[in-house]
């Protein structure tokens, strides 16, 4: 190669700097927070139900800071001084309510439970029921400081109820955590639902407010919800994202709000704060509470299985049990919809071959956005003859396809009355080693392709063949 070429190419590539000049990066602190919060987790089974005791939600750019290990409820000296102190006395709890025996908090002359001057109908929040600064400290050398509760400025966060105990923390990066524990004698279930309705109503009020996720939470206290939304304040680059962890146990409802500026929210809401909150509350109450979270997504409402497409059971049969979240079908006319087959080895253009419709559906793990996905695409032709002709060309070209460094093998084909199918496997090598399994099938007037980048779970040839046969059999509903 000539020096001129080297220089010219270097200059041309360097000139791309002008395109990125207007792009800002969030900075090293945001990267460290993202690292602290992004911990892989495993779905332990069940459709849209999972145990996620470790991972945290991800604010992609400027996430709220977070969080220490979920220590069990500590000594009273671990507890912060609540900034809102109930003024009502202890009352005998209902039969379903654990005994409330506030223990003194040596760190404060005030008892969160108040408790000496009778007169209220509500049980008293015991000392030590609130999250401590140790609970919310993260592991990236960024300290949290306790601040006045009720002043977080986070969108949709309600005022602290009059009888509640509350605490709030702030990080140097403008992230906030605010918690209150609300005594609701005999009405905790209704109070929890009321709180959820209030928050979703606010988050769906339009304008700058957007509801992002709602999950029901079981296995943590008696019941709970996780909600995520965003709202003002906004800047050209950021909005304010909030996660609410609502749980109830006995006659108490705990609400933890965790929020701050960010650019997007790209992970499922995580139950860790809910677990910490219930551990603190139940520890203070002297009761044992379940702390094994399972969550089920309520919003966005899962799409479920669709006629003509692979089902989540089909994927589970292929060993992809975690891919339980089939997305909306996008067609070539939709924004972000397919303009051709999305996998590089499918070089044939279905639309150029006469397909009237090209659609795509993705299947992912609801607990691992950005994780492994399987993609299915369907090209619908005017008639079976057109579909068969396209399929023949598609398979021919896929068999010819190669990429330097990839080892591609045909892993099987089948032709039976009603459908045909073929599968392949591509394995890379070296630094960029990756494995893709993919296949194509035709039935009636539809050609479908399926592809999956092997991550933690491989799909052996036999199972891939079975998956493609399933895809073919599903065509036509």
């Amino acid at each position: 190669m000539s020096d001129n070429l080297d220089d010219s190419l270097s200059r041309r590539l360097s000139s791309l700097e002008s395109d990125v000049a207007g792009i800002s990066l969030p900075g090293p602190a945001a990267a460290r927070r993202r690292a602290a919060q992004r911990t892989r987790h495993q779905l332990t089974g069940g459709v849209l139900a999972g145990v996620a005791a470790v991972a945290l939600g991800v604010f992609a750019v400027s996430p709220p800071d977070f969080v220490a290990s979920p220590d069990p409820a500590g000594s009273p000296s671990d507890s912060p001084t609540p900034t809102a102190v109930p003024t009502t006395p202890t009352q005998s709890p209902s039969p379903s309510t654990p005994p409330v025996e506030p223990s003194p908090d040596p760190s404060s002359g005030e008892s969160p439970g108040g408790g000496e001057d009778g007169g209220s109908d509500s049980p008293t929040v015991p000392a030590g029921a609130l999250l401590t600064v140790d609970d919310v400290e993260n592991d990236t050398s960024e300290a949290w400081a306790e601040v006045d509760a009720g002043a977080s400025g986070l969108p949709c966060v309600p005022d602290i109820p009059g009888d509640a105990a509350a605490v709030a923390y702030e990080s140097p990066y403008d992230s906030h955590i605010e918690q209150f524990v609300d005594p609701a004698d005999g009405a905790a279930e209704a109070r929890l639902e009321e709180l959820r309705d209030e928050l979703t109503g606010c988050a769906e009020s339009g304008g700058d407010f957007h509801l992002i996720q709602v999950w029901s939470l079981s296995g943590v206290g008696d019941a709970g919800y996780l909600l995520v939304w965003n709202g003002p304040p906004t800047t050209p680059d950021t909005q304010t994202y909030v996660t609410a962890s609502l749980v109830r146990t006995g006659d108490f409802v705990s609400a933890v709000f965790h929020g701050g500026p960010g650019q997007d929210y790209n992970a499922p809401a995580q139950p860790r704060l809910a677990v910490l909150a219930i551990e603190r509350l139940c520890g203070a109450l002297g009761t044992e509470c379940p702390t094994t979270p399972e969550q089920e997504r309520l919003f966005p409402e899962p799409t479920g299985d669709l006629d003509g497409w692979l089902t989540t059971d089909d994927l589970a049969e292929a060993g992809l049990e975690a891919l339980t979240d089939g997305g909306q079908v996008l067609d070539s006319g939709d924004e972000g919809g397919p303009t051709g087959y999305g996998y590089v080895a499918f070089t044939r253009d279905p639309l150029a071959d006469g397909a009237e419709l090209l659609e795509q559906r993705q299947y992912g793990d609801p607990m691992d956005p950005g994780g492994p996905i399987l993609i299915q695409e369907r090209a619908t032709f005017a008639d079976a003859e057109g579909a068969r002709a396209h399929y023949a060309e598609l398979v021919f070209e896929a068999n010819q396809f190669s990429q330097p460094g990839d080892v591609i093998e045909s892993t099987g084909d089948v032709s039976v009355p009603g459908y045909e199918a073929a599968t392949w496997r591509a394995e890379g090598s070296g630094e960029f080693a990756s494995v893709f399994v993919y296949g194509a099938a035709v039935s009636e007037n539809v050609v479908t392709v399926v592809y999956y980048g092997v991550d933690q779970v491989d799909v052996p040839p036999e199972q891939m063949q079975q998956l493609l046969e399933r895809a073919a059999q599903r065509i036509g509903g």
Partner: protein, 161 residues
């Protein structure tokens, strides 16, 4: 003990370069930004090891590229989503040309001619031989010369590669 100050200094010194390189590799400003930031987050999670590497910057660049490559090959919209060079910019033709290169060739070209890495360094980074890298560079340059006809003279100094 991880020292945030060391990581922060590394980020400040290198992140714009990595972003630039990821843009050249992906042709997608948003994806370049996302993958760059995620790669730095991963670097911080393994900072003890990354900071001790021969080239932490190469580690971040390679990680970001793997993230981008994986999203491209398995992600929604497939190849079409890569055709996102800013419309009307003078660089659009170069971005489009780069996207037509096989990914390993593209990586070699960008790391060689933008990051300034030596062939041996690219070979070490990608787990392949220097000869293979040379081969990829030669093919990539030949392709670029062919699909950027207005640049042939500039690219080759008047000589075919």
């Amino acid at each position: 003990m991880r020292e945030p100050a060391d990581f922060d200094a590394f980020y400040d010194a290198t992140s714009r370069r990595v972003l630039h390189q990821l843009y050249a590799l992906t042709g997608d400003l948003g994806r370049a930004r996302d993958c760059t930031q995620e790669a730095y987050a991963r670097a911080w999670r393994q900072w003890a090891a990354v900071s001790a590497a021969t080239s932490p910057e190469a580690w971040v660049r390679g990680t970001a590229w793997r993230l981008a490559s994986r999203r491209w090959r398995g992600g929604p919209g497939g190849r079409a989503r890569w055709s996102t060079a800013p419309p009307g910019t003078g660089s659009a033709d170069l971005v489009a040309a780069l996207l037509r290169l096989p990914e390993r060739q593209r990586y070699a070209v960008v790391v060689r001619y933008l990051a300034g890495a030596a062939v041996a360094e690219i070979a070490a980074e990608t787990g392949t031989s220097a000869a293979t890298v040379e081969n990829r560079l030669a093919k990539a340059c030949a392709t670029l010369a062919r699909i950027l006809p207005g640049d042939i003279a500039v690219l080759t100094g008047g000589h075919r590669v």
